[in-house]
Subunit: 206 residues, 2 copies
């Protein structure tokens, strides 16, 4: 693509580095921005920089935060004895959205993935073990994605956490609410059968 | 969506103003940027601002340019007697990509669209008429999209250009190369029949 301006070319090049955005989309976005007021583009440009430079990680749970300790960790009302371990902050947002979990979180910052060169040392696992040791934790809930990396990480964490006098649980894998058996893959179906629960329990939950 | 940081929320808000980017995608992009080096985010942020503030419009043809007069208008080799009228700079890029057109361009900056409140006065039509009057133009090629707005603008321009001793042409509408008759809509098919050309002409072109 012949872009008639070096400045535009530079902007398109930078935008197209974003995941899922190719050259054509980048050009479309750049031309859209060209039509906007300078103040609008300045707002976007500054918001990106401020986010990158000013955003902190909570020193306790590694959730993103505007202060040293994040809002969730600071809330005294939350159950301080339960930690839910998640891969990244998007999972924290997803779980907060159900408005049903009242414990704390721990953000791993990824999953163990030898293929991508990510080992336990690259994640915040040591910090998690330290929390379990020093705080009065009674339960750690593993809430990782059901991928191979998720299962590997689950297993590694379980092995490490076994040494502490706490309960280690994992979120239920099963058929999604609204899904039909017919279209569910065999592994999920197998697990949902294997991990079946007393019917009374479902009545209590709803 | 509960975003645990005001800075992140601001960035997501600004990114989601871009066309075709919703809140979830904006969050994904923001979190991607959070993982990048600060220098990378700075590059993006600055490229956007520089593009918006430093980019000029060519004073002759309204193409984007890093200088007063764009590269195409400055090239002495190009046919200075032919102007191709297009809606926006993406069309200039598309036409330049075929490497077959050697004339000049004129970027309208939009199409006449009463529904969107865009009249002839909002476009660069006066500047085009001035060019036709003052420069030694022999042909104006109308290369607008085949939409209702495109046709309206074509007609308006044709009426205005009729007063000058020049040839006014429009790019051919017909069946795309590689398309099959069966799946072509009736209007296109009708036009392609109506505007049929001597067969020898197609042999000359290829």
């Amino acid at each position: 693509m012949d872009i008639p301006s070096k400045k535009l070319e530079q902007a398109v090049f930078e935008i197209s580095k974003l995941p899922g955005i190719g050259q054509k989309t980048a050009l479309r976005l750049a031309l859209h921005l060209l039509k906007q007021e300078t103040s609008e583009v300045l707002k976007l440009s500054e918001a990106l920089m401020h986010m990158r430079t000013d955003l902190k990680q909570c020193i306790k749970c590694f959730n993103i935060s505007d202060s040293e300790v994040c809002e969730i960790c600071r809330k005294p009302k939350r159950d301080q004895q339960t930690i839910c371990v998640v891969e990244d902050i998007r999972d924290v947002m997803a779980l907060e959205n159900i408005h049903g979990y009242t414990g704390l979180y721990h953000v791993l910052g990824g999953l163990i993935s030898p293929m991508d060169g990510i080992g336990p040392g690259n994640l915040t696992i040591d910090a998690l073990l330290k929390r379990v040791q020093e705080e009065e934790i009674t339960e750690v809930i593993l809430a990782l994605n059901t991928t191979m990396e998720g299962d590997t990480t689950n297993f590694y964490l379980f092995k490490k956490l076994q040494n502490f006098p706490i309960k280690v649980t994992t979120i239920a894998r099963g058929i999604g609410v609204g899904d039909s058996l017919e279209y569910t893959d065999e592994v999920t179906l197998g697990r949902s059968l294997q991990n079946r629960i007393p019917f009374e329990q479902t009545m209590r939950n709803s």
